[in-house]
Symmetry: C2
Subunit: 310 residues, 2 copies
């Protein structure tokens, strides 16, 4: 174990913001003279890999238990311990840079904690670079703008703020990319599901929620062609039914989000399927409904479903 | 209830940093065009009143249950809910500005959270003024430098950082005060205990800690003349013994901290008094010991006592 080295990492099941924020913040800390290393807690997705390849940056190395590797850590893009590394309770958390709610987090001593209610961690990192008066390289700008595009779905998500848009425009200039052109290519790279198994579709981004007396699972995938999923609709529904029965879900919903039209198709299973009708004022036909203009699980799917089931 | 007004406040049993930080941050937010009001959760101490009078600033009004007054709040100088206002669970926390550990704190949504491991909240507020490019008035500078003097005991506490010292020097210029002269007068105003009852001595700044299998209470008072306390030593010890028996403390220690010599006299009660010998390598004589150079409960008293009792 290197006693001095500080590990910088984002959440488990890493997305583009989590991977790039670890790389970028570690780079800034190194420029400030600190001994840090970016690491990751899970596999790199196709969208993230596209961004890393485009800007010729290597992925951080994979770490499972951080307490076996370091005594001090910096968290980016998360703070809740259940989303963090194994061993997180045994190390000292020096800093957190995040844009989520704060929950299930505590420290023994004071720390540097910078959270802002913006759409993306990269937007805060962009601000930190300016505050420290450090120039942003083309590579780091490219990774940050990729994170903003990813978290905001090219500014279409209701989680996106004016600060995110301005940061992305500024960074796109430094990175030398056309925002719409690069952004769409990157999102497409992560939205090609033609080679994905049904099991992967239902697990790649799935979260459980308590709604009223029910446990509800909401999974989400991005697509450029919904046929990648709908061609296998019966297999997907069968797998959802089985998982619903095995886990006692009141409802299991899969949102297939079209990144071009910014609509989502919802596939559903479970005894509480009618909640979809109440929540979105749409009719389910063969366990399927279209939700026009819906792209954000956090802001547009979970709240109305929670109301309908409570 | 005013639905728009956002309340800004520090912790219960308010000290100078908590009261002045609420006033100063509310002032900065108003300059930024926001509808906020500073309030307080408890009585103003003599030291804080000295600073308010000197710079001719009114104390914030007293509030007991914040959820009856507002829907949205900003916390300064604390985050732990047990130190915060009654009703804190029912309101939305928009922001936190703090320099303590994070614990027993959570929100439903993202927020602005700015914590830094410095000696005083005012040091962070000083930085926020600069980041927003706003000029600091003489009054606000005076309140901020008073908070730094108070939390750092005129830079003598080991919690004081170089950032705190630099901020204080900058602010003293704007406030038009001589740091040492004003600082000592302000500390003396809070350290005159000649009119204080024994009960007040033991409650004005007392905290409970779990140490090994024992519950330990550590109270602290600042003095310019230890005789204010020691002239009543037997009464103080009797009251400590009674409280120790009533609450089952393993140890009750009162630190009488001389703000001129920066030494503390410790008075003790309880079955675990010998821990003082182990912790500080001093001999107790008639439940009294001198701890040379000890001024910080957090950094110099609690850790060695915890080790001795664990």
């Amino acid at each position: 174990m290197s006693e001095d080295k500080v590990l910088v990492f984002g959440h488990k099941n890493p997305d583009t913001d989590t991977i790039t924020s670890a790389i970028v913040y570690a780079e800034l800390k190194k420029e400030l003279g600190e001994n840090v290393e970016a690491v990751r807690l899970g596999e790199i997705g196709a969208e993230t890999q596209y961004a890393l390849d485009y800007f010729n940056v290597e992925a951080p190395r994979l770490v499972s238990n951080v307490s076996e590797e370091a005594e001090k850590v910096i968290l980016v893009d998360h703070n809740e311990f259940q989303q963090s590394a194994d061993g997180i309770e045994k190390v000292q958390i020096l800093e957190v840079i995040d844009h989520h709610r704060i929950a299930n987090f505590q420290t023994e001593g004071p720390l540097f904690f910078r959270a802002e209610p913006v759409g993306c961690t990269a937007t805060i990192l962009h601000k930190l670079y300016k505050e420290h008066g450090k120039a942003i390289s083309k590579e780091m700008a490219g990774l940050m703008v990729s994170a903003i595009i990813s978290d905001s779905l090219l500014f279409k998500s209701p989680t996106c703020t004016e600060e995110d848009v301005q940061a992305a425009k500024d960074l796109a200039g430094t990175a030398g990319i056309d925002l719409d052109e690069y952004g769409l290519e990157m999102l497409k790279a992560g939205a090609d599901l033609s080679e994905t198994t049904v099991e992967q579709l239902l697990t790649m981004d799935a979260k459980e929620f308590s709604m009223g007396a029910h446990t509800v699972k909401v999974a989400q995938v991005n697509v450029v062609d919904a046929a990648d999923v709908l061609d296998r609709k019966q297999d997907v529904l069968d797998a959802m039914k089985k998982e619903t029965a095995d886990n006692g879900y009141g409802l299991f919903a899969l949102a297939v989000t079209d990144i071009l039209s910014n609509d989502s198709i919802l596939l559903t299973a479970g005894e509480q399927e009618e909640a979809v009708h109440t929540a979105f004022n749409v009719k389910l036909e063969d366990h399927e409904a279209v939700l026009e203009g819906v792209v954000s699980r956090k802001k547009q799917i979970v709240p109305p479903l929670t109301s309908a089931l409570s």
